[in-house]
């Protein structure tokens, strides 16, 4: 009858189907300092950020490339005073706008302006189900209460709300409370997102990794609730990589669905791609998004299946998980070309368990907050 994204499969390496969405990281600035931030450890400064006119041109190019949605993200996109103007421009050219935010800088008047500009959806991160723990993780006093207030305003205004709940050692035991909170807020969707270890999170892995017992309890709790949640809230459940037996289909496959533009205008196949050595990234000043999407070196390098080593190449799942995550393969094996070692078929899979068990046992490890 109907299915998600069937016509969006990349046709060939250099003749891909259009992207589904463009993630625009308007800034790396953020009032929060979460130790698992997915931004790179080397943050772009405010002075390096693209200006309004350039972001508008990039939006035009995203639509030209065939993208249907734009995700305004960061850092905290609300630090940009031109956010309303950019949303309005996206709406004008037919792009569907998502706002990925910490919400602590939002208030009702600004939400109303964003809605008038055509914003459809707000995704708000929560650091925990209760204020003390949440504010400690975010490094921002009063943040949790503010988020709840804004989340209720989002729903009251008739905008779609997603709660993004990032789980780790210090809050994973409260997964049920987080789900209850999201439902109480009126969210249409919740992302139960176990920390993925890139950027700041990779540096803080020993302070965040949950134990196997915690993981199993969380997994059982979520799966037990899924039937009663059907039709009431959409649950996107990200199984924690280091405890998985099969890799996630990272970004829905390299350069198959998403492009990412950094604050200074680098165009990436995923937000962590800059960690991969020897990869040339073009910027929005070099070529159009269409051109970069089609045959940019970074985009074609891992698109499709030609690049895959064994055991991926002869695996039945290669067009389901697309080889997993390149950045994770790099972080865990030293080579971005390797099979994602989260996969139990990877020769390095046993090493993941060793790392995980080591970090999970490091209970006195203290995290470093994300820098400014």
């Amino acid at each position: 009858m109907s299915c998600a994204l069937p016509a969006f499969a990349a046709a060939t390496r250099n003749d891909p189907a259009p992207p589904f969405a463009v993630l625009m990281e308007l800034t790396h600035r953020c009032p929060l300092r979460c130790p698992y931030c997915s931004n790179p450890v080397a943050l772009d400064s405010a002075s390096a950020e693209l200006d309004t006119a350039t972001w508008k041109r990039v939006l035009d190019e995203a639509a030209d490339a065939g993208a249907l949605q734009v995700h305004f993200s960061g850092g905290e996109p609300c630090v940009r005073k031109d956010l309303e103007e950019l949303v309005a421009h996206a709406t004008e050219i037919g792009l569907y706008s998502n706002l990925i935010t910490s919400a602590v800088l939002l208030d009702r008047p600004r939400l109303e302006r964003l809605q008038r500009a055509g914003l459809q959806h707000v995704q708000i991160s929560l650091q925990d189900a209760e204020a003390a723990g949440a504010d400690r993780v975010g490094g921002f006093k009063g943040g949790h209460v503010k988020k709840l207030e804004v989340a209720r305003a989002v729903v009251a205004q008739g905008l779609a709300l997603t709660i993004n709940a990032v789980l780790h050692r210090h809050n994973i035991d409260r997964v049920n409370d987080v789900i209850d909170l999201a439902m109480d807020l009126g969210a249409g969707r919740i992302e139960i997102a176990n920390v993925q270890y890139y950027g700041w999170a990779l540096a803080n892995r020993a302070a965040l990794m949950p134990s196997r017992e915690q993981l199993l309890a969380m997994d059982a709790a979520v799966r037990a609730r899924l039937p009663e949640l059907a039709g009431r809230i959409v649950v996107d459940y990200v199984v924690p990589d280091y405890y998985a037996r099969r890799p996630k289909s990272c970004m829905g496959g390299w350069a198959r669905r998403f492009m990412n533009v950094t604050p200074r205008g680098r165009v990436l196949p995923c937000h962590a791609a800059e960690t991969i050595p020897g990869m040339a990234f073009e910027t929005v000043h070099d070529r159009s998004l269409s051109d970069i999407w089609r045959d940019g070196q970074a985009f074609t390098r891992y698109r499709g299946t030609d690049w895959m080593p064994e055991p991926c190449q002869s695996c039945d799942h290669k067009e389901e998980d697309w080889g997993g995550c390149r950045c994770q393969a790099l972080a865990l094996t030293g080579s971005a070309d390797a099979t994602d070692p989260v996969c139990e078929l990877s020769p390095a899979h046993a090493d993941v368990a060793v790392l995980r068990n080591h970090d999970a046992a490091a209970l006195d490890s203290v995290w470093t907050y994300r820098g400014a």
């Binding site: 249907l68 569907y96 459809q120 779609a160 009663e228 039709g231």
Partner: protein
């Protein structure tokens, strides 16, 4: 105790969930439900069902099934079964709400 959420019923009134819109993408030549960070491509039948059964001006699902029964000249019981199954799926995936 877990309770399984019931199927969509003929007496339900459905509308698109917040942030969901019906769009035609001319470039791909496809109708789709655009939704928060995702979309659903609709084939001809799915599009007809959404148009007939979802929206504030539609009335209840039964009215939509009646229209589709006439339009497709098919037995009502068969139409109803297909429609309710698809609408339940759309509801469970968050695209429509009661």
């Amino acid at each position: 105790m877990n309770t399984i959420v019931p199927h969509v019923a003929e007496t339900d009134r459905l509308r698109l969930a917040p942030g969901v819109m019906l769009r035609n993408d001319r470039r791909r030549g496809q109708w789709m439900l655009m939704a928060p960070e995702r979309l659903l491509v609709l084939d001809e039948m799915a599009l007809a069902i959404v148009r007939a059964c979802v929206g504030p001006e539609i009335g209840d699902v039964a009215a939509g099934i009646d229209r589709l029964t006439v339009e497709y000249d098919a037995p009502r019981t068969e139409v109803a079964a297909d429609v309710l199954e698809m609408l339940t799926d759309l509801r469970n995936k968050g695209y429509v709400v009661t």
